[in-house]
Amino acid sequence: MDDKDDFKKKFTRRSFILAGGKSILATAFLSRLYYLSILESSHYQTLSNGNRIRLEPILPSRGKIYDRTGYLLATLRSSYQLILNIETTEDPASSLQAIDHILKLAPEKIAHILGEIRRRPKLSFVPILDGLSWEEVCKLELNIPEIPGASIKEGLSRYYPEKERTPHFIGYVQTPSENDCAQNSLYRTPNLRIGKNGLERFFEADLAGTTGAREIEVNARGKMIRELKSYAARPGQDLILTIDHKIQHYTQDLLSRHESASAILMDAKTGHILTLASIPTFDPNFFTNGIRNTEWNKLIHNPYGVLNNKTVYGLYPPGSIFKLMFALGILESPHLPHHYETFCSGYIDVGQHRFHCWHKDGHGHVNLEKAIQHSCDIFFYGLARMIKPDPILEAAERFGFGQPTGIELPHEKSGLLPSQLWLNKRKKKWHQGDTILLSIGQGSLLVTPLQLCVMMGRLATNNKTLKPTLILPSPSVPLLPPSPAISSLHWQRLTKALYEVVNIPGGTAFKSRIMNKSFEMAGKTSTAQVRRITMLERRTHIPKQHEQPWKDRHHAMFAGYAPANDPQYIVSVVVEHGGNGGQVAAPLARDILTYAMEKRE
């Protein structure tokens, strides 16, 4: 039986080898188990929670915006929204089709909604139509029981009661774009709106508040099992503006007879902006629930720039208003001729160029005050021939040109003050002719209407710390102490000239003077040339403004203040291609100031 014993030994040996193999497999399995349950456990716990927990955001209510008198400029009102509940809809496509029969949906919209459902399987619902009218709600209510998943949800949406009268500085809200969402994943929250322009955008962080959330346990089919936790949303902060809605209302209506214009009324002591008007305008409520294509096209194809807030985005050559900076630059430099006088015959020759005064018969004998009162160009040309531009540019910078004013609006324009640095960058040289153009505020110089207003404010009150603001600070916050911008002697000379512009016969704005002796207006007109007058035209016939196409007409501007002896209000008006500053812009400024004064009393 040797054979058999041998066999049995072999069997025993091989059995143990087999058992060894099994032990190796078992060890491999146990290490795997250790890896999953111990080493990687927290990772899988996260995945497991991700499976079962759905975060459902709770939208905070957006902060309201009030004017200085407590009048609501931006509020919330209930709105009706058609939603499709994904949890209870087996076939979203057919539900959408059924809705399409009742209220026409754009094919792109249907495709977009279906894409959204596919991309985000954990969504509980998708919004289909926002801001339903009452008739639409009634129409839907009848049919909704037959459309699986569809329901009408009542919510709050942004509403601007002043409609067309405030959109430029308040801005508007919109559904975040794909780009916004790429930057902030919270923006994917259904029904969220974010500030897209103006204060709504500038103060987005304050107005928006903090989104809350509900932690919901769901099963594999996405059906809610129970609520686990809930974090309340923190509502956004309200804003109180320096705007006076009545003056805003008045100004906006006043300007609307022009194609394109803007006006600012500022408190001379505090820099509070009482009015920030821009024409043409639009109803920001269109944007809240998704602007329809036809509306959008109308807005962007308007040749006068509807969406543009011209007070901070409009760039204009300042024209004659800049003569004040020129005069200042001269006065503030001790070695320059403070008492220069000249004779205006209507033109002046500098080298081989002949420069004309706006008044082709000439102003006769002029000094600084008279040159400002009449806005004589020859006087400034004469000075410009003798000096370098640096003191002028320095003065202009001190009065706020070439830099943002710091108002609480996004992307405020800086304008352009052609400094030496700026010229070097463009590989250009400063010529005498440039100084001559600078002296009457033409050339490459560009300013915004708000900068004009700030400049006039600083000049009128001789306070270089004056800054514009749209937000009403709490009364406890002290104002910056006023600090003189120029010597009081020079200041008196200039303000006297500004007074004469409006109140002494021959001044360019004399016709727009305010008769009320306790509320006299002072200021400076400007008629900024857009198109050069050709030699041929000078010889034959200089076309009248109304004979020219709109685009070629001068910009009519006025910057001023009242009362002249103790400035309370600063005003600046720009009528784009409006013609003569004294004839077009100054009367508007007078009306705004008068209205503000009457309102105060």
Binding site: D3, D6, F7, K8, K10, F11, T12, R14, S15, I17, L18, A19, K22, L25, A26, A28, F29, L30, R32, L33, Y34, L36, S37, I38, E40, S41, H43, Y44, Q45, L47, S48, N49, N51, R52, E217, V218, N219, A220, R221, I225
Partner: protein, 375 residues
């Protein structure tokens, strides 16, 4: 020969009751998981499983009490019978659509491939029972048993049931190995098997190929077939060391875990009882496997030894393939966890295997002749 003269009653009393206790413990834990998975209800799974387990225990007892020589004599016959049943399924399966693996006997659905797992091992054990030392060097000597494995393996693969095919082949060859197959021949067979892999691949259905490809690279399809493995790993891993607690498994309760009551029941168990629970269960299974080895090594007859090792290996493979599949070590091949998973057919196979093992244990001193027949 003295065991043969023991009365039924005495045989019954000399059954290894400790092993039966372990069986009850494992099934008890399984029923606990089924109860939890149904949100604390006996229906639909736990109550049925209790009945099946009891029936299975009776089957086990009956098989264990039958004399080993009877099983020896009927080995080829039972193998032939299961092969016929398998062919019958293959023929009717052609008429029906897709994978048809069972014969409907009206009171019970019978899966011939399950029975085949046990009868194949019986036939192989009987074949090698008569082996002489010189036989182990002859290639031709191994041709009949190779065919015994190959024919049902190919039939099963065509059903298609990849898991059963693997179990049949590997458990079958374990008998080759312990029967003393020459090492050179083992290598030769190994090389031949590797070269047949491409041929086998062509036998596979598209979905089986997919399963293997997704196993190799689960990222291929995270929401489709890869979803099973991913969710199972999440369930296992999120259980951690101590588990989420009885009836607290979110993966199984909220239906993220597919097949939580059958093939993936181990994941549902570990989610609630953690690594500690898993280790406990593995220890219980290890006890059964150690018992299987003890029985095999103590058996006086070669038939008992070979069959014992074959059955133990089959049992081990069941457990290992299922657990490895659930933990993502092997592709999803559809092998249930014996005694644990919900379902009747696997219960029958496992109880048959363990019943035979106990029969070998009970009749360990019995001499089995060359072509012995008791009755």
């Amino acid at each position: 020969m003295k065991m043969a003269f023991l009365s039924i009653k005495n045989r019954f009393l000399s059954l290894n009751w400790g092993v039966i206790m372990v069986l009850c413990l494992i099934s008890g834990l399984g029923i606990l998981v089924l109860y939890s998975a149904a949100d604390g209800n006996f229906s639909p799974w736990a109550s049925k499983q209790i009945i099946r387990f009891c029936a299975g225990l009776v089957l086990l007892g009956c098989l264990a009490l039958i004399d080993i020589r009877y099983w020896f004599s009927q080995s080829y016959f039972l193998y032939g019978l299961s092969l016929l049943a398998l062919i019958a399924v293959e023929l009717t399966g052609r008429i029906g659509m897709g994978a048809q693996r069972w014969i409907d006997l009206y009171f019970l659905t019978l899966q011939p491939s399950e029975i085949m797992k046990v009868t194949l091992l019986m036939a192989l054990a009987r074949y090698f029972h008569n082996t002489h030392a010189q036989d182990s060097h002859k290639l031709l000597y191994f041709l009949p048993p190779t065919l015994m494995i190959a024919i049902p393996a190919i039939l099963v693969l065509r059903q298609p049931d990849l898991g059963t095919m693997i179990l049949l082949t590997v458990a079958g060859f374990s008998i080759f190995f312990v029967a003393g197959l020459n090492l050179w021949l083992i290598m030769a067979i190994g090389i031949i098997s590797i070269t047949t892999v491409p041929i086998l691949w062509s036998f596979l259905h598209e979905y089986q190929k997919n399963r293997i490809l997704i196993f190799l690279d689960p990222e291929r399809d995270p929401l489709g077939a890869g979803y099973h493995i991913l969710q199972s790993k999440i369930a296992l891993g999120s259980g951690g060391f101590l588990g989420k607690g009885f009836k607290m498994g979110s993966q199984s309760h909220l239906n993220f875990l597919p097949e939580k009551q059958t093939d993936f029941i181990f994941a549902a168990f570990v989610e609630e009882f953690g690594m500690v629970g898993a280790l406990g269960l593995v220890c219980l299974y290890a006890l059964l496997i150690i018992y299987g080895y003890k029985v095999s090594l103590r058996s006086r007859s070669a038939y008992g030894r070979f069959l014992g090792i074959g059955l133990t290996t089959l049992f081990f493979l069941y457990i290992f393939v299922n657990m490895a599949m659930v933990t993502g070590l092997l592709p999803v091949v559809g092998i249930p966890l014996p005694l644990f998973s919900y379902g009747g057919t696997a219960m029958i196979t496992v109880m048959m295997a363990l019943g035979l093992l106990m029969s070998i244990d009970l009749h360990r001193s019995v001499r089995v002749g060359r072509t012995h027949a008791v009755w």
